[in-house]
Point group: C2
DNA sequence: ACAGCAGTTGACGTTTACGTAAAGGTAAGG
DNA sequence: CCTTACCTTTACGTAAACGTCAACTGCTGT
């Protein structure tokens, strides 16, 4: 049985086990550990056990979306690193802004490819529907 | 020297060597041959040499766009196969239309992910620009 | 005290997508 | 005829992204 704390504790301090996050995100624990090996997530350790916080879940969501978009994990890491890079000095901020531009260009290329693929698919579908209609007559 | 035929022949019959298509699409000849091993392109053979036609270039363009979108080659093949599957019988047409729906769902999920990523990037950029402005003052 | 389960660390296996080296065929130019 | 450039097959290598044991550890209920 879970201790009542889970229900009464403030949401900020809510934590998860590896099995829980794996289950929630639909991946295996091996996958989660692999991401940790690559430095994509860094869960807290209570002794030897991993404790996942909200921050870790946010990262996992970012990672998995990156994967759905077809980015390699190493590239995903550079994105994550970008998002929580220190931005204290002007030079750092300018570097980050440059990186943002590069990423945006990449994403927009992908969107062009995607829209192209979608419109070709639509054209193809119309042809098929026309063929189907001509069979019916 | 190329024979004058290359200039006078009708554009339909224009062909390419493996080196030319590889160069044109910015990949190595090894890559092109790999796609052939997987059945993604099937160039004509003149003796032992490969002859690439317009049709092959169209396919290569499809393949590479698929790759930019992060699809595995096997999945790309199912797409290509879909595009030139026989559509004579009604049952075949209905099957193809089902596949089209599945693909569209996939592509639209990707677009959602993409738009989300882009808008997060924009938000982040604004924050950075704000930080930069506050440094200037 | 002890079984049982969840979690942990290696370490090797697998699939995908090519790279790369070896060894040779072929057509054109000198 | 011989070199050179381009093409061919065969085959082993490799990096990424996990899968899959194996062998422990550490709580938890009985």
């Amino acid at each position: 049985m879970p201790s009542p704390d889970v229900l009464t504790a403030p949401p900020e301090s809510r934590t998860w086990t590896i099995a829980q996050v794996a289950e929630e995100f639909g991946v295996t624990h091996r996958t989660v550990r692999h991401y940790e090996d690559l430095g994509l997530v860094t869960p807290e350790r209570r002794g030897t056990q991993r404790i996942y916080h909200r921050r870790d879940r946010t990262r996992l969501a970012l990672i998995l979306r990156g994967k759905r978009l077809g980015f390699p994990l190493e590239e995903i890491r550079t994105i994550i690193d970008l998002y929580d890079a220190p931005r204290g000095r002007r030079s750092q901020l300018e570097y980050v802004l440059d990186q943002i531009d590069a990423r945006r260009a990449d994403l927009e290329q992908r969107r062009r490819d995607l829209d192209e693929a979608l419109s070709e698919l639509t054209t193809f579908e119309q042809r098929c529907r026309a063929d189907l209609a001509s069979l019916t007559t």
